[in-house]
């Protein structure tokens, strides 16, 4: 199992959605991989943060609208389609942010109340829509890093690293070469 595969699955370790073999694979990988173990610890910390947040009751009147939104054809974030390569960058940016900066802030947001709504048939789950929105914000974080890199030279290498982390997945995503070989 690669780090990439493991990092996709560690978020589901506690959700009872993985097969026993998958759980064993992830656990074995995490036991041998420091960065992934760190990611798992941070994710567990985030989950603890969620658990500490009181869950407001979702008004019944809201459910049909949410289900209708979730059942729409797969769209990204606020409702626009996303270029596949753009999406890959978003995924990595978000994972980098999750791993590096503490997603424990999320419970402060209005949309992260922990309300569980079952996924509708044939459409993305509400959690997936939520994740997509988070990923888009992370993608824009890369653009902010590129801008901030041009701010003062004092922070330049730090912002370069921040932007580079978000770029890593672009290299893995297999975008078609456009500039050829050097």
């Amino acid at each position: 199992m690669t780090c990439r595969q493991a990092r996709c699955l560690i978020y589901e370790l506690e959700d009872a959605t993985l097969a026993p073999a998958e759980i064993a694979d992830v656990r074995a990988h995490v036991a041998a991989c420091g960065p992934c173990a760190r990611d798992l610890r941070q994710w567990e910390r985030i989950r603890e943060g969620f658990a500490a947040v009181s869950r407001p009751t979702l008004p019944r009147s809201v459910v049909p609208a949410v289900m209708q939104e979730a059942a729409k054809p797969r769209r990204f974030g606020y409702g626009f389609t996303l270029h596949p390569v753009f999406r890959a960058a978003v995924v990595v940016g978000a994972l980098a942010l999750l791993a590096g900066t503490g997603l424990w802030m999320l419970p402060r947001g209005g949309d992260h109340s922990g309300v569980e709504i079952p996924p509708p048939l044939g459409g993305p789950s509400v959690r997936q829509l939520e994740r997509d929105k988070e990923l888009k914000v992370a993608m824009l974080g890369r653009e902010h890093a590129l801008f901030a890199r041009g701010g003062t030279a004092l922070d330049r290498t730090l912002w370069t690293a921040a932007a580079a982390e978000a770029n890593v997945e672009l290299l893995k995503a297999g975008a078609a070469p456009t500039s050829g070989r050097r």
Partner: protein, 344 residues
């Protein structure tokens, strides 16, 4: 007699050298030291320094002084000042292991050495408006004060410690250890608007030379190069953005004190078009992203997101739809809330 006069001259010269050499940098104003530090740390026409530095960077919990270090990166930076080239080799485990960044005045290549693939970005893609570029030091000195607060040694080099403090509370500060002789920043400590240390960088070894291999700053033959699929315009004034993006930007009625509009970019990736409004106070940056929302998108909710290097972010869809906003900046979250409130 002649010998005594010669000996006096030698001693006089030595005393003069001792009296002047260590203090020439100190005799400069803190802002002058900072100006030189900014020049020497960036690629630009004024950069002439060449060096090889091993650096360690640490990130800290931006909302607590208790948590301590949350991440650590080690890298080797090589700068060829006269030829305007830079190379960074990341050595830390994690995402950037085996990644090399190569930079020249026009391009930045992020090279995955294991896979032999590089992604290319324009180096000037995120430049600010010319007026902001020209006045950046003046803007910095409007919003921050610089003072030399002491001396130290970093990587065996004597340094002056320069503190850059905000004029207004709630803005970040920096402490910079500048090589006394070369005026290169060798250590930086950055705090956010709440006063918490967010990240620090320290050179652990430095030599003011680079190995002679000219190929070090170039991709090796056979490397597959891919252009960044995200297209970015140059920095544009507000009144040119609608024409470029196809929709009008919404300028905030409030930005944190000291911040100026530094330009707007139109970003395209596939079917997505985003306007990036950039604000700058000479040290820190605030980004406002705007995007048209497809009909039927739900509005209302907002998410707080942490950003890189201690920045925080806020994302929401305007009530009634139409535009999705995302704000990211290394300022206090309350300030971002005020910006949001001014976008109604």
């Amino acid at each position: 007699m002649r010998f005594r006069a010669a000996r006096s001259a030698v001693w006089g010269g030595l005393l003069l050298a001792i009296a002047t050499t260590p203090t020439w940098a100190q005799a400069r104003s803190p802002l002058d030291v900072l100006r030189e530090a900014l020049r020497s740390g960036a690629l630009g026409p004024a950069t002439v320094l060449s060096y090889t530095a091993t650096c360690e960077a640490e990130t800290h919990d931006p909302f607590s002084s208790v948590t301590g270090v949350t991440g650590r990166t080690r890298y080797v930076e090589r700068v060829d000042g006269p030829r305007q080239r830079r190379r960074i080799d990341y050595q830390a485990p994690g995402q950037l292991l085996n990644i090399v960044v190569l930079e020249d005045p026009t391009s930045i290549y992020q090279w995955d050495t294991q896979r032999g693939i590089a992604i290319r970005q324009d180096n000037n893609a995120c430049a600010m408006l010319p007026s902001i570029e020209r006045d950046r030091l003046a803007i910095l000195s409007e919003n921050y004060t610089a003072s030399i607060v002491g001396k130290s040694t970093v990587a065996g080099r004597p340094c002056l410690i320069v503190e850059v403090m905000p004029v207004r509370q709630g803005n970040p500060w920096r402490r910079i250890y500048v090589d006394r002789d070369k005026l290169l920043p060798l250590r930086t400590e950055n705090a956010n608007g709440a006063g918490f240390l967010t990240h620090s960088m320290a050179v652990v070894d430095i030599s003011y030379s680079i190995p002679g291999d000219p190929g070090m700053f170039q991709l090796p033959p056979g490397t597959i190069v891919r252009d960044d699929p995200v297209e970015r315009s140059v920095a544009l004034p507000m009144n040119r953005l609608e024409e470029k993006a196809g929709f009008a930007p919404i300028a905030p009625g409030y930005v944190p004190a000291g911040y100026r509009f530094a330009g707007g970019q139109v970003i395209r990736a596939g079917d997505s078009t985003v306007i990036h409004l950039m604000y700058f106070d000479g040290m820190s940056t605030v980004s406002l992203f705007e995007e048209l929302v497809a009909p039927g998108a739900r509005g209302g909710g907002q998410d707080w997101m942490p950003g890189e290097v201690g920045a925080s972010g806020l994302s929401w869809v305007a009530p009634g739809g139409a535009v999705a906003f995302t704000l990211i900046g290394d300022v206090l979250p309350q300030e971002l809330e005020k910006v949001k409130g001014s976008l109604r």
